[in-house]
């Protein structure tokens, strides 16, 4: 304090702030007081609207500093913090800043001492204000109003903790420069018309519109983008505390989303947990077991299980998709129209069906009831994958040298992945147990085609069967 004159003045001063967020005003008064050597204990600061300091003295007229007083000092860091801290709602902020400014005169580097209690307090207030501003940038929600002049006007209602509205007008101006907007708050309002910024006194929530047509879309987005398997409510609450919820339309969904999440997740996990017992070791045991199988929804339909048929030591295993209506009634694979077509082509290729083991990738008939008819439905990938358990058991027992999969479902039943038939047909795919897989179209596909397309596909089908017969002959040697 050597630079300043010794405090001789022992009077008590009160500075009444005209605006709660006016940094320039505080700076001017504080500078004047330091120059006159008035210590922090002799100054009190009041905000507009406050009842004032009980001990406030007579002296509202501040002393005039002498002409030869030296410049007062404040570090850049202090000024940066002070500009923000003035916006805080803590009534002590002006006095705290003044106390620090006073100490800065003796120790210009005091702001670096992060263990000093006053420095820490100022940094804490600064942090609060920055956070409040950041949340304002984030959580202001505009609602569109159509004005009488046909222009769109976007209006938001926001409740800040601190006096940050005026200080943050620039952010919204830079972002929405070509929109007309207003932000209404209980601490004053700002309005932008694309050209000038206007201020108005505090407003009430009822002054802002209560809905917006785009909110329905936003709520849908909010509910869809969240992953129920990763529920972490505490993380959400710390970043988006409840006090903000009332002005955010999407927050109304939160309780429902949280309540539903655990249920949704456990359903997904349960759907993936298939607990099978020991794999049956005889075909007879498989037949019994599939009859009771309810591992996927197809098993719940009114249908029978259809077991594969053929010699237990067959060199060739023929796999179709799933039993159809007639197969379901007969409880035998490939007896319907597609089966009859298959018989014709097997004969043509010189393969004896009775020597092959004929089965399906899925063991039950999947259908939808339309009047009296049961209309075939393709099994979903998941259902095929579930049913692989059974076809693998059959393969372990029969141990075919060649597996002929007809159609994409059958191929998935063997491989566990979906393949494109046109890309993989005509060549063997080696399987893990040393056997090989040949893939062709399903005979029902041929039935659905007409004219040239049918002729072409029939030729390909015959060629595939012929190739399988040749391969079987090679392997038999």
């Amino acid at each position: 304090m050597t630079a300043l004159r010794q405090p001789t003045d022992t009077a008590y001063y009160t500075v009444s702030m005209l605006e709660p967020d006016d940094f320039a005003f505080w700076r001017d008064k504080a500078r004047q007081l330091v120059q006159c050597g008035i210590p922090p204990g002799q100054v009190s600061w009041t905000e507009p609207g406050s009842s004032g300091d009980l001990f406030a003295g007579e002296g509202t007229q501040l002393p005039v500093p002498p002409a030869d007083v030296p410049q007062i000092r404040a570090s850049k860091r202090f000024l940066a913090l002070a500009k923000n801290v003035v916006l805080h709602s803590d009534p002590e902020r002006f006095a705290l800043l003044y106390a620090l400014l006073w100490r800065l005169q003796a120790n210009p580097r005091i702001m670096e001492d992060k263990t000093d209690l006053q420095v820490r307090r100022v940094e804490e207030l600064d942090k609060n204000v920055r956070r409040d501003s950041h949340k304002m940038h984030a959580f202001v929600r505009f609602r569109r109003l159509e004005r009488d002049d046909g222009e769109d006007h976007y209006v938001a209602w926001f409740e800040p903790d601190h006096h940050i509205v005026r200080a943050n007008a620039g952010f919204f101006k830079r972002r929405f420069a070509n929109m007309h907007w207003s932000i209404l708050t209980p601490k004053g309002c700002i309005h932008w018309d694309g050209d000038t910024m206007r201020e108005s006194p505090p407003a009430e929530r009822g002054d802002a519109p209560s809905s917006d047509p785009a909110e329905e879309l936003w709520l849908k987005y909010y509910a869809s983008i969240f992953n129920p398997a990763r529920l972490k409510v505490s993380a959400m609450m710390s970043e988006m505390p409840k006090k903000y919820w009332k002005n955010m339309p999407e927050a109304a969904l939160i309780p429902e989303l949280v309540a539903g999440a655990q249920k949704r997740e456990s359903q997904m996990v349960a759907a993936g947990e298939l607990t099978f017992d020991e794999r049956p070791e005889t075909l007879g045991a498989i037949e019994k077991a599939i009859d009771r199988c309810r591992k996927c929804p197809i098993g719940e339909l009114a249908n029978h299980s259809v077991m594969g048929e053929g010699p237990q030591d067959a060199a060739l295993m023929i796999v179709g998709e799933q039993p159809g209506d007639q197969e379901d009634q007969a409880r035998r694979p490939f007896v319907g129209p597609a089966g009859q077509l298959l018989d014709v082509h097997l004969q043509k290729a010189g393969i004896e069906r009775s020597k092959a083991y004929v089965t399906n990738a899925v063991k039950h008939f999947k259908y939808v009831q339309r009047g009296k008819r049961r209309i075939h439905q393709s099994p979903a990938a998941k259902e095929i994958d579930t049913c692989r358990w059974w076809i693998e058991a059959e393969r372990e027992i029969v141990k075919p040298k060649v597996v002929l999969a007809m159609g994409a479902s059958a191929a998935r039943g063997i491989l566990g992945r979906t393949v494109s038939i046109s890309k993989v047909r005509g060549q063997p795919v080696p399987l893990e147990d040393g056997s090989e897989l040949w893939i062709t179209a399903h005979p029902s596909y041929l039935l659905r085609l007409e004219g040239e397309a049918q002729e072409k596909q029939v030729k390909l089908f015959d060629a595939d069967l012929a190739a399988v017969r040749e391969r079987l002959a090679e392997l038999a040697v």
Partner: protein, 448 residues
């Protein structure tokens, strides 16, 4: 633009009667039903749901832009803004959607794979742009994060995505944030286009090992992915260089590129993952590597473990990522913190694990130790270290002073020396880990 053409076979009624209507496993009729007229809100539901497994959400670190004086809309000011938080604790900063969830690929971990039974939908580029703008005007978002399933071909899909960005930038004069997920198989020229419109581009490496990729994403190719990342890296460098010489040279992905790896879908260890991440950071100058705990998806592939996502493991990986990026640890040093199976311990953080393994480096004198060593003290973050360094110029720090700049002195105490503190034999204690590990939490009664 042309509507999506699906080859739909119409079967004559009489054939249908006695035909099983077998083949192929992707039901043809369900498509017709699904492709019927979906409203915008239904599409948004489907395509946001399909996008939620992508972890990235950042909108920070791009060039500063604003719409003052112009005709446009929007601004970016360096710091990202989270406009809302979902109940999973994740930040909602961008409108994160897929252009379509139709896909010709069959990646096992992906809900949108070809063989999955999810509802499908598709936006037009115009719809995406309009939705972005109407959300942006209401201050719901910072911008758009667009990804897509692959329809028709990689190039066709990439073209459509670039078109979304073009409409936003050129027709709406949008100055907000755009993140485009690029498709590694697409023509490099299209990826270049994407970078000219977007703030950030990313390409997912998906899995930490090539073998995992081959097994779980049979249609993808590790060399191709890295090739595309390398191309983006050189484009970024080239454009940066051009801007030094020409003031008006176009910007190319000013927020850089990032990638994502799925954790827990294959057998890769944490050491594998960190090694991969470190190579990616070094090799391709990535801004971020995101780790995404594999989470159960509806209609999942049977190949994958359907269990609760390994969220703690994901968290430990992010911590180790931070150690590499902000604390000056080398990848091999973080790997030293793993257990014998190559995985990070789950009960303590990787920094503490490293400190416990290398106890001979401690205790450190907070009044003398250099910055890079102080950063290795468990419990001292970057901010705390900076405060210690600033404060010790003014006084000799006591334990109490250190306590004021950090969150918990208990964690720091065994590893430091202060004016009035010396941890004597603490670092020699065999049970130090138990002392410092966070207390086991009571298990949730209704946890799944």
């Amino acid at each position: 633009m042309a509507p999506l053409r699906m080859t739909v076979k119409v079967v004559p009624a009489e054939t249908q009667k006695n035909l099983d209507f077998l083949l192929p496993s992707r039901g043809t009729r369900t498509y017709i039903e699904q492709m019927g007229q979906l409203s915008t809100i239904e599409k948004l539901g489907i395509l946001a749901d399909a996008a939620k497994y992508d972890a990235s959400c950042a909108s920070s670190g791009t060039a500063k832009k604003n719409s003052l004086g112009g005709k446009g809309i929007g601004s970016t000011e360096g710091m990202g803004i989270c406009h809302a938080y979902a109940p999973d604790g994740r930040c909602i900063s961008l409108l994160k959607i897929l252009l379509t969830n139709h896909c010709i690929f069959d990646c096992h971990y992906c809900i949108n794979r070809k063989s999955s039974n999810v509802r499908r939908a598709r936006f037009t580029p115009q719809e995406v742009a309009d939705l972005t703008i109407s959300f942006y005007r209401r201050n719901y978002i910072e911008g758009l994060f667009l990804s897509s399933g692959i329809i028709k071909s990689s190039n066709f899909t990439m073209e459509q995505m670039v078109e979304c960005a073009r409409i936003l930038r050129e027709e709406h004069d949008f100055r907000g944030y755009i993140h485009l997920k690029t498709i590694p198989e697409a023509d490099p020229e299209l990826v270049h286009q994407a970078g000219l419109y977007a703030d950030r581009v990313s390409i997912n490496v998906e899995l930490p090992t090539d073998s995992g990729l081959t097994r779980l994403a049979p249609d993808k190719n590790a060399q191709q992915i890295e090739g595309a990342m390398g191309k983006v890296k050189s484009d970024i460098a080239e454009m940066k260089d051009a801007r030094k010489r020409f003031k008006h040279a176009p910007r190319f992905a000013p927020a850089g590129q990032s990638t994502q790896m799925i954790v827990g879908a294959d057998a890769a260890s944490d050491a594998d993952i960190m090694g991969k991440a470190s190579r990616l950071y070094d090799g391709f100058k990535l801004r971020r590597v995101y780790y995404s705990a594999f989470s159960p998806i509806p209609d999942a592939s049977a190949v994958l473990p359907l269990k609760r996502p390994p969220l703690i493991r994901e968290h430990r990986l992010y911590q180790s990522d931070w150690l590499m990026r902000f604390y000056g640890y080398q990848a091999r040093e973080v790997m030293q913190a793993t257990d014998h199976d190559g995985n990070l311990p789950l009960d303590i953080d990787p920094k503490l694990a490293w400190a416990l393994k290398f106890r001979e480096s401690f205790p450190l004198d907070v009044n003398r130790a250099p910055r890079e060593m102080l950063l290795r003290v468990p419990g001292l973050g970057v901010t705390a270290v900076n405060r210690v360094l600033a404060a010790r110029r003014h006084k000799t720090l006591r334990l109490e002073d250190v306590g004021r700049v950090t969150v918990s002195i208990a964690k720091v105490r065994p590893f430091i020396i202060a004016a009035d503190w010396r941890p004597t034999t603490l670092t020699d204690r065999a049970d130090l880990r138990t002392l410092l590990a966070p207390k086991q939490e009571q298990l949730e009664l209704f946890a799944a």
